[in-house]
């Protein structure tokens, strides 16, 4: 485990998480959430949990982003708050 890489990815995870909450555009929030999942996948892989990383990459970064985008496509891109 390289701690510099670990720290960098952890910072990106936190930034993506805060960004997904703060951003007003819901499509952007969905994409940021996908990026968050992918960073988490990298973290799992660094920690040696390859099976979890694989699941996170396929479910979290892949299919759930598509579901979010499909939901945004049929509702609205703008949040009320």
């Amino acid at each position: 485990m390289i701690w510099q890489l670990d720290l960098l990815i952890l910072t990106l995870v936190v930034l993506c998480g805060i960004g997904a909450l703060m951003i007003r555009d819901l499509l952007g929030a969905a994409i940021l959430f996908g990026a968050y999942s992918f960073m988490m996948c990298l973290l799992w892989a660094i920690m040696g949990a390859v099976d979890v990383a694989f699941t996170e990459a396929s479910v979290g970064a892949g299919v759930s982003t598509v579901f979010f985008i499909a939901a945004v496509y049929h509702t609205t891109r703008r949040t009320k708050d």
Binding site: F54, T55, V63, I69, H74
Partner: protein, 276 residues
């Protein structure tokens, strides 16, 4: 109110960070989590189940009861999306417009008229039909078979490498979703219809529970794959390996069907006519 919420969040976060100081260091062999059952699984997995990947054997053999209900949860998610979103099918009117596949010319049939040209070279379209991009369509058409083969590999090779039913099922489902995104929803529906995807998810759960009941019928405990030695070659240890494979196939089918099913309901608002 917003400031109060921020203060509470910061406070709870600080307490959580403070609590992590008491955690054992990363990968500590003396930590409580690695003292009770973990060594037992790590040491005995290979001789008891002949599966080198300990994660798969814990997931699908030692803790298979958990995984069975995880699969059921996924099936329930698919059913919930179906019940919430699906609207009753309206019979579509007979196609009035036909598009020549090669030239892109569109013909409209007048009321009472009949289409007599060779059907193979034409496809029925309507006002919401949009032409898809040639480059994206071609790339995806060549990519999808490889994605599907990779998905099957992930399911079948979960004993030896990272992977298994969940990941492989999601990859297989994603290939159909890619077909729907790159072409349109109707093309994907032609390849894997609503009934197929809706049948795949309970069928996967049924394969899983059926394996368990089969063990019960053969006189062993529920999901004790040793029982399968009476039906499969290779003795009781290989029977556990084969049992894991059967279960993983069930999980893969359930996950694939459910992912495609949820996507179709979500992308077309339950109408199954147009989508992303």
């Amino acid at each position: 109110m917003k400031a109060l919420g921020l203060i509470i969040v910061a406070l709870v976060g600080a307490i959580l960070v403070y609590a992590t100081i008491d955690f054992p260091p990363f990968g500590d062999p003396e930590s409580p989590a690695s003292l009770h059952v973990s060594p037992r699984y790590l040491e005995k997995t290979l001789e008891e189940t002949a599966v080198p990947n300990a994660v798969t054997s814990v997931l699908a053999d030692y803790r298979s009861f958990d995984t069975m209900f995880e699969t059921t949860v996924i099936f329930c998610a698919g059913v919930a999306c179906f019940l919430l979103l699906r609207v009753p099918r309206r019979r579509p009117p007979a196609p009035r417009q036909f598009r020549h596949r090669l030239t892109g010319l569109t013909f409209r049939i007048k009321d009472g008229g009949e289409f007599v040209l060779p059907v193979r070279e034409f496809e029925p379209v309507d006002s919401i039909w949009t032409p898809y991009d040639l480059i994206i369509e071609t790339i995806c058409r060549y990519l999808i078979p490889f994605i599907q083969i990779f998905g099957l590999y992930v399911i079948a090779h979960g004993h030896y490498s990272p992977g298994g039913g969940f990941q492989g099922g999601v990859i297989l489902g994603a290939s159909i979703i890619l077909l729907s995104v790159s072409h349109n929803l109707r093309t994907a529906l032609k390849r894997m219809g609503e009934k197929t995807s809706a049948l795949f998810s309970p069928l996967g759960v049924l394969i899983y529970t059926g394996t368990g009941v089969l063990c019960l019928v053969l006189g062993y405990n529920f999901l004790d794959y040793q029982a399968l030695a009476a039906l499969l070659p290779g003795g009781p240890i290989m029977a556990r390996s084969h049992g894991i494979f059967l279960v993983e196939v069930g999980v893969g089918m359930a996950v694939m069907g459910t992912m495609v099913w949820i996507f179709k309901n979500l992308a077309s608002r339950g109408r199954y006519d147009e989508g992303l």
